[in-house]
Symmetry: C2
Subunit: 232 residues, 2 copies
């Protein structure tokens, strides 16, 4: 893990070339910004090679990148920790008509509370939040806050799996209720991401994404009736 | 140009492999979304290979990608056409504390009005909007609207040139007034982009970008006093 082993990564980097290969764009995560700052403090020159990132590859669903507002992260709810601050962020975007990219939690190299307490370096199996779990968390918070930003029947969303143009990429579009009703296998293997569609929706975006719709009729109906998109 | 020659590009694409190589991510521009839709209508299968894009490579300045709101385009002002709708978009982001990426106009393969009217395929030399021109347009609109979103002395911005980690990449940070006061050569060759910094600014972002500041004292002073960032 970059967070805990940055000293190790940087150990001889003042005298030899060290490369750190990451998933996505290096600047997509604060962790990588942090290791650049540490390197800089040690007088080690750095050079960044950019890469495609989920932050721009989401364009694959046909929604325009310049219509996205701030990006939101959704963490695994536990019995005692169900933070709902993401809802306000999505609402801020929604109030402006912007789309929201929701990045779903991943847990890798996590220790159970017991193993952590006992200092045992035993790690839990990796977990990746799936689309159904993400949507159910969104709907749960909507049920509790009832502000209407994520009303299941009238909020359009697009689910993305393994974005990158490869054969296991999946894109599924529909209302939150429709996405929730799909069998999990529809979404394929992780990593999953979710987009909450904003109201400043262009008819070309609707048309492009229609091919991914669970139900084309609902997709067009909600886009027209609720989102106010003028469709043919 | 992809817009005018998409028929040519797609002509034999049903029987042979055709590749279209673009700058940035293919889905960063509606033009490319459009050609995919045309191909699809003709029954031509498409495959996208994603790439780094200015939309995520801006992270190079140290501002966090998830704190960016909608992206804005700034066009060349002419004597008769000085559209200021970008200002409202930046203000929407600013009201939420979000950063705004401002993409600067480029004019390539443009005809003069006279040549266009006479049907002469004579093209003007390419023009790329520079940082000083962009900032002066922002300040002009602020002077006219006086809503305070782009107050020159108290708005932080980051100028980026040729982002990509290469030797001619330049990043310059400061107030709008400071950026405007720099000699043009500070910004190097095009392409240029500009970020208007939002108020939900984290001290790590300030610290990271400080190395790019025209004047570190002003940078930290405005970040602390105007943006409310708690700095050491």
């Amino acid at each position: 893990m970059v967070e805990t082993e940055s000293d190790e990564i940087l150990r001889n980097a003042d005298t030899e070339d060290v490369s750190l290969l990451v998933v996505g764009d290096p600047y997509g995560a604060t962790t990588h910004t942090d290791i650049v700052l540490r390197a800089r403090a040690l007088g080690i020159p750095t050079r960044i090679v950019h890469n495609a990132s989920i932050m721009n590859a989401v364009g694959a669903c046909g929604l325009q990148l310049y219509n996205f507002g701030q990006t939101v992260s959704l963490v695994f709810f536990t019995d005692s920790w169900r933070p709902d601050s993401f809802y306000d962020r999505i609402r801020e975007n929604a109030d402006l008509g912007m789309h929201t990219l929701v990045l779903l939690d991943i847990k890798v190299k996590e220790q159970s509370e017991e193993n952590l307490a006992r200092g045992r370096k035993i790690y839990e199996p990796p977990r990746y939040m799936s689309i159904p779990q993400a949507v159910s968390q969104l709907v749960e918070v909507e049920d509790s806050l009832k502000a209407g930003t994520l009303a299941p029947e009238s909020t359009l969303a697009i689910a993305l799996s393994r974005v990158g143009g490869g054969p296991d990429e999946r894109i599924v579009a529909g209302t939150l209720a429709e996405l929730l009703a799909q069998p999990p296998e529809v979404y394929g293997e992780p990593l999953h991401s979710l987009i909450v569609v904003g109201k400043r929706l262009h008819h070309l975006e609707v048309e492009y994404a229609e091919r991914f719709a669970v139900n084309r009729e609902t997709w067009r109906d909600v886009a027209g009736r609720v989102y106010g998109c003028a469709l043919d």
